[in-house]
């Protein structure tokens, strides 16, 4: 349940504006607390969410913009997001992926992700049998990783290669969990295929 402050006029907040005393409120996005008071940190509307029967969560929701900057998502991927990327490099222990979007929307800036050997299941052989440069993969973000890349995982049957081109240059279709077949030459190649 979501309701704005008392009255029909919405409560707008400026960064630094005091919203309320800490009390029973928990802090959501767009606020911070200092000396048992809750302040807004974003420019937007103050919204109170009912988290459970006793407590309310305070959030500040920025006003939606309709300019070019909302055509793509500018916020970076968070842990648990399912992202889509293109394989950039395959080494013996990691697959480096250029993340360009989630399933719903594209990112404004490409991020770098890495699928490490431990995060790819069912592969007793090396990563070259699961991924090749240029494949499009679907993976899940497991952690923020190191300063160079996010850590991704294809540990589930949902995740893995969703599109690839064969050595002959034609697109491939999945035939089972571990193989894809080229549409033109009917040669099978092994990939970690997503369902």
């Amino acid at each position: 349940m979501q309701f704005s402050s008392s009255g029909d006029k919405p409560l707008y907040a400026v960064p630094g504006m005091e919203i309320c005393e800490q009390g029973n409120f928990s802090i959501g996005s767009g606020c911070y607390s200092n000396h048992s008071k809750i302040y807004a940190s974003l420019l937007g509307r103050v919204v109170f969410h009912q988290v459970d029967t006793s407590s309310l969560q305070v959030c500040v929701v920025p006003v939606a913009r309709t300019t070019t900057s909302t055509l793509r998502r500018s916020a970076p991927p968070t842990v648990g997001d399912v992202v889509i990327g293109k394989v950039f490099k395959v080494t013996w222990r990691a697959v480096v992926v250029d993340i360009f979007g989630t399933e719903m929307e594209l990112f404004r800036y490409p991020f770098r992700g890495v699928i490490r050997l431990a995060d790819v299941t069912n592969l007793k052989t090396d990563l070259h049998h699961g991924f090749r440069t240029g494949d499009i993969v679907r993976a899940q973000v497991v952690s923020l990783g190191d300063p160079q890349a996010y850590y991704l995982s294809t540990n589930d049957s949902r995740f893995g290669v969703i599109y690839a081109t064969s050595n002959a240059g034609y697109p491939m279709e999945p035939c089972n969990e571990n193989e894809m077949i080229c549409t033109k030459t009917a040669i099978k190649e092994s990939r970690k295929v997503a369902k």
Binding site: V14, G30, Y39, L43, S69, A75, P76
Partner: protein, 259 residues
């Protein structure tokens, strides 16, 4: 005199030093114009006019850092703030050029302004909420008629709020000049800045209890310094309140009416 001017002087007659008269009261600001969303491509942008001083600021981010920072994992877990200030080629009224070579890199003054902006805003942004990301601020000084850094701080504040970057507070700023006649001139323009014996610029986050930057150039006694800073803080508070009112009005205007 803080600054000595050399070279040909092609300003309009009215701003030559000997004939200069301040037309407004010592305590008053020049006309303030604020605007946001002027740059469509940027995450947020702000435009400020203080009298004839004009500044535009754009904020991009949070985005992956363009230059990978050194310093390991701990530094990467916090966001990074970078800033580039550019003084446009037509910003000053005289035709002397402060760049040693036009079009090559940043001049020393621009680098100094960039560092000051970064240092002023670094405690203001909640950078912990943007790990492994960089927030980039680009500021262009379009016309410099005194109090340029004040206008830059205001424009950057507007741009950051417009970009929905989490801030501790909105930052406002004010400049006070002490004239040779020992008067405190609020929001000096270029001639007053150059004639002044001291200049104090103060940046303060509105809803916090500390200043984020004091910039002082010139020679002042301790009591004069204190009263100048207090005056600047009061002026910055009024400017900041106008900025907050402006931002609230813009939000109310842009909200769809059925909410």
């Amino acid at each position: 005199m803080l600054f000595q001017r050399y070279g040909p002087c092609l300003e309009p007659q009215s701003s030559l030093e000997e004939n200069y008269q301040r037309t407004r009261p010592n305590n008053s600001l020049r006309s303030l114009v604020l605007n946001t969303r002027t740059i469509a491509d940027a995450a947020g942008s702000g435009y400020v006019e203080l009298g004839r001083t004009k500044v535009i600021a754009a904020v991009y981010g949070p985005r992956p850092p363009l230059r990978s920072s050194k310093g390991g994992v701990e530094n990467a877990m916090k966001g990074r703030l970078t800033c580039e200030v550019v003084k446009s080629a037509y910003c000053s009224y005289s035709c002397e050029s402060t760049r040693s070579q036009i079009g090559k890199g940043f001049s020393e003054e621009e680098r100094l302004l960039s560092i000051r902006l970064v240092r002023a805003f670094e405690p203001i942004l909640l950078l912990d909420k943007y790990p492994k990301c960089s927030i980039d601020i680009f500021v262009v000084l379009l016309e410099d008629d005194g109090s340029a850094f004040t206008a830059m701080t205001l424009a950057t504040s507007l741009a950051l709020a417009d970009a929905s970057i989490e801030l501790v507070s909105i930052v406002a700023s004010a400049t006070v000049a002490i004239s040779p006649k020992q008067e405190y001139l609020v929001d000096p323009d270029k001639t007053e800045c150059e004639q002044a014996i001291a200049l104090i610029t103060v940046s303060l986050p509105l809803h916090a209890t500390q200043l984020c930057e004091i910039y002082h150039i010139g020679k002042l006694s301790a009591e004069e310094w204190l009263s100048a800073v207090q005056l600047a803080v009061e002026v910055a508070q009024t400017v900041g309140n106008s900025m907050c009112q402006f931002l609230l009005q813009e939000m109310a205007k842009n909200e769809p009416s059925n909410q």
